[in-house]
């Protein structure tokens, strides 16, 4: 009876591998690549003990501990210790996300789409799909552990021996195991794929927060978080294997529960009650703008939190910067020659440029959502009612402009609040605010470009991303790679006066704003004229 439940699991494994023959390798290769490239970059950037100790000093604060985990290797901050300290947690989170997304896709996702029903109508065991999904994911995580472990070892970096590197990989793989099992469980509990993803992400987020609080205040607390277990391996410093086995043990337990729950439930049902939604709309929803906001609500909130954290993470290192820069050649080169301003101020202008460009990402996303909606034939609901095309595109434009500002504001606030607690002589909020807001015209130009494409040539909206990518490349790396100056001037971000290092340049800002206005106007006009696809 029990065995019969697994009939044709092998065939299902092949089928899942076939469906994910691109997706899975892309995940594994990019994760491995990112890890290896970071290790190489660390080895290049911090080649002397002195430089490593300098960066270790910037890590000695609660903000950093909360963000990346306890710095158990700070006293002898080897490249390995640095990898484990700065990269292990975040990579583990990404591996967790991979497991969550892939497991949901093959379990509740397929079930919701009615595909599992087709599979079940064939002579296939009831547990075959779930078992096959988990076997594929577990194998993928083992492969990932080996790829990363062997890859790190092959870099031949001092302090990163074979068994330690394998432990680094294994810790990541264990995180993948755990969240695959957790997602399999929630795929049984929740009635739809969104719920399964949502609850699994909630576990991931909770694990992060419990660990953050625990690492700062009470170490025992961290052991209640699976991410705490992963960091508990103390890779490249103390190298404990037992937390990996602990994680795998819990994984097997959760897997068993998930399999059991799958056998006792009906297809397309769940255990958690799906609460009925609203029968009526709130007044806030009842306009195109209201709908746009509502559809992007989750995205807006997560970007907002993210931008604040990015700001805070930059802010938390500001206090120890001078000593760090003094000892690091590469970083000084990136910042260019120092005049009469401090290195911290120079670094600040670069942070501002980077943050402004990151804030442009959500702003563009909010604007280009319109194209996505059009593609899905949902704009016709507006156009076939008494909503003008300008109201439609205007709603997305307004969201983009407003939240472009809000994101930048949150990033600056995060920067200020963290720098306030770590710097001896904190920078005033106002000067940070000015230094950030001066980038608004550049963001407007980027939004204007997106409007232009949406209005005139929707097939080419992808170019706005390319332009942003280009800007990031030339502005962020331009100094380091010593690009000619005109390359930077092709980007709107290259025309922004870097306050407080440079003079405030009203003319440039006014010109950028004018360009943004022209682009937007042309986009609006084009949108009014052109056919909608749906």
């Amino acid at each position: 009876m029990w065995k019969q439940q697994f009939t044709k699991t092998g065939k299902m494994i092949l089928f899942i591998l076939r469906r994910d023959r691109i997706r899975l390798p892309v995940w594994l290769i990019s994760l491995t690549f990112l890890t290896l490239i970071t290790a190489i970059a660390f080895a290049d950037l911090y080649s002397s003990d002195q430089e490593r100790m300098a960066i270790a000093e910037t890590m000695r604060n609660p903000a950093m501990t909360a963000m990346v985990g306890p710095g158990y290797g700070l006293d002898d901050y080897t490249i390995g210790a640095m990898m484990a300290h700065q990269m292990l947690l975040f990579t583990a989170i990404v591996v967790g996300i991979m497991s969550i997304l892939l497991v949901t896709r093959h379990t509740r996702g397929d079930e919701e789409e009615g595909r599992i029903e087709l599979i079940r109508s064939l002579p296939v065991g009831r547990l075959a799909n779930l078992a096959a999904t988990l076997i594929v994911l577990f194998s993928a995580n083992v492969v990932l552990a080996l790829l990363i472990g062997l890859g790190l070892f092959s870099l031949d970096i001092e302090s990163m021996g074979l068994s330690y590197s394998l432990l680094f990989g294994a810790a990541l793989g264990a995180a993948g195991f755990f969240f695959a099992a957790v997602t399999a469980l929630f795929a049984q509990l929740s009635e739809n794929s969104r719920g399964a993803i949502g609850y699994s992400f909630a576990v991931l987020g909770l694990a992060y927060i419990i660990r953050a609080i625990g690492d700062v205040s009470n170490e025992t607390l961290s052991w209640f978080s699976p991410l705490g277990w992963i960091l508990g391996t103390e890779v490249y410093v103390n190298n404990y294997w037992w937390p990996v086995w602990l994680t795998v043990g819990f994984t097997l337990l959760i897997t068993a529960i998930a399999l059991y729950l799958n056998t006792i439930r009906d297809l397309e049902s769940g255990f958690l009650p799906s609460r009925p939604g609203k029968k009526q709309a709130t007044p806030l929803l009842l306009s195109p703008f209201g709908l746009v906001l509502r559809l992007q609500r989750t995205s807006i909130i997560s970007w907002g939190v993210g931008m604040f954290l990015i700001g805070a993470s930059y802010g938390s290192v500001l206090g120890d910067l001078e000593s760090f820069f003094a000892s690091n050649e590469v970083m000084s080169q990136m910042l260019g020659e120092a005049g009469d301003v401090s290195l911290t101020e120079q670094f600040l202008t670069m942070i501002m440029a980077v943050m402004a460009m990151i804030c442009t990402v959500p702003a563009l996303l909010f604007m280009l959502k319109l194209k996505g909606e059009e593609k899905k034939n949902r704009t016709e609901h507006f156009i076939s009612r008494s909503v003008s095309k300008w109201t439609l595109i205007g709603s997305y434009f307004t969201t983009s402009i407003v939240f472009g500002f809000v994101m930048l504001f949150l990033a600056v606030t995060g920067l200020w609040s963290a720098s306030f607690s770590t710097m001896d002589e904190p920078i005033s909020f106002l000067s940070l605010f000015n230094g950030g807001m001066v980038y608004l015209p550049a963001i407007w130009v980027m939004i204007g470009a997106a409007v232009l494409f949406t209005g005139l040539i929707p097939q080419l909206t992808g170019l706005s991303w390319l332009y942003l990518g280009y800007s990031f490349f030339v502005v962020y790396l331009g100094g380091l790679m010593q690009f000619p100056e005109w390359l930077g001037k092709l980007s709107p971000f290259g025309h922004i006066p870097q306050i407080p290092v440079e003079e405030f340049n009203l003319l440039n800002l006014a010109l950028l704003t004018l360009i943004a206005l022209l682009l937007t106007a042309a986009g609006f006009a084009g949108f009014k004229k052109r056919d909608l696809t749906g």
Binding site: E112, N192, R194, P276, G277, K278, K279, Q280, A281, L285, L286, S287, P288, L291, R294, L295, K376, N377, R378, E380, H381, F382, I383, S384, R385, S386, V387, S388, K529, R530, D531, L532, G534
Partner: protein, 306 residues
């Protein structure tokens, strides 16, 4: 009074001409059936009328206003139901209905609730969980709950079960009784036959036939089944006789062009009629006849323009 008037509508997508000079008129208070196979240009024509896409040439007017320029004004008095309803997965059906009604400008809560009940829709469910039929119900409830003067319905019943189709047909007839106009594009010919006052058939971007059902029937053949005392042998030689089939000796079934009906009856009555069964052509016969024929469509217009 004319509610929709289209003259020589042409729409090109690159080289492909989706509409080639479409003329269309929907009069006040009538239900106009718009039929044609997939890809014939029904939805394109409707989208031009809605101002979602702009005609390459030709005129399209609704309520006497330009369909492209005055779209927003026109849409205040118009309700549209697409054939393929795409909704936002994370909103509930109730929320979407409210949003649509608000965008339309109307606010008739009791009518909304009544229709939700009639169509047996659960408004508290997220749109992601709805089947095609349920998504269509959302659009139908929003449309019929609004106080529109013109309903443009593009294959609105393709996902509905027969019970719900009845409810839908009643809604359309109620709208007509209130003096409203309806443009109904449909595949379900029995539905068109039951509901529509006039019909237009579109093929490859051209209206090839339009008029009342009676007028259209004139253009087509009547099915006859006769039994005579003496055998008739010379029917084949008559003009306008098709698909002749001799069953037993004396029973013959055949189709006859409507304009030849008089002559043929006079002829066969000489043989001593024992039995005569005549069935009018169904819309399906008409439709099939147009689409099975290859080559040029027949010249249109007999009685179609009014």
């Amino acid at each position: 009074m004319t509610v929709i008037r289209a003259r020589g509508l042409t729409k090109r997508f690159g080289k492909f001409a989706a509409l080639r000079g479409v003329d269309l008129e929907v009069k006040h208070g009538e239900i106009y059936g718009f039929i044609g196979p997939n890809g014939a240009g029904k939805s394109t024509a409707i989208r031009v009328l809605l101002g979602i896409i702009k005609a390459t040439s030709g005129e399209a007017e609704i309520f006497g206003r330009d369909a492209w320029k005055d779209a927003v004004e026109i849409h205040k008095r118009l309700a549209y139901v697409p054939g393929d309803v795409n909704l936002w997965p994370n909103l509930t059906g109730g929320e979407v209905i409210d949003l649509f009604m608000k965008l339309q400008g109307g606010k008739n809560k009791s009518r909304r609730d009544e229709l939700i009940q009639k169509f047996n829709l659960d408004p508290s469910k997220k749109c992601r969980t709805y089947s095609k039929g349920n998504r269509q119900k959302v659009a139908l409830v929003a449309a019929f709950a609004s106080d529109a003067d013109l309903y443009i319905l593009d294959e609105p019943t393709s996902g509905l079960d027969p019970l719900m189709e009845k409810v839908f047909q009643q809604c359309v007839l109620d709208a007509k009784a209130e003096g409203k106009s309806v443009l109904l594009s449909s595949h379900i010919l029995s539905e068109v036959e039951r509901l529509c006052d006039r019909v237009g058939i579109i093929r490859q971007g051209e209206i090839i036939e339009s008029g009342t059902l009676n007028e259209l029937r004139h253009l087509t053949r009547t099915h006859l089944l006769i039994e005579t005392k003496e055998p008739i042998t010379d029917l084949e030689s008559f003009k306008g006789v098709y698909e002749l089939e001799r069953k037993e000796d004396q029973t013959i079934s055949f189709q006859i062009d409507s304009e030849e009906l008089d002559g043929i009856i006079k002829h066969v009555s000489q043989y001593g009629l024992l039995k005569l069964e005549s069935s009018p052509p169904t819309l399906e016969d008409l439709f099939m006849r147009h689409y099975e024929e290859t080559g040029k469509p027949q010249a249109s217009g007999a009685g179609g323009e009014a």
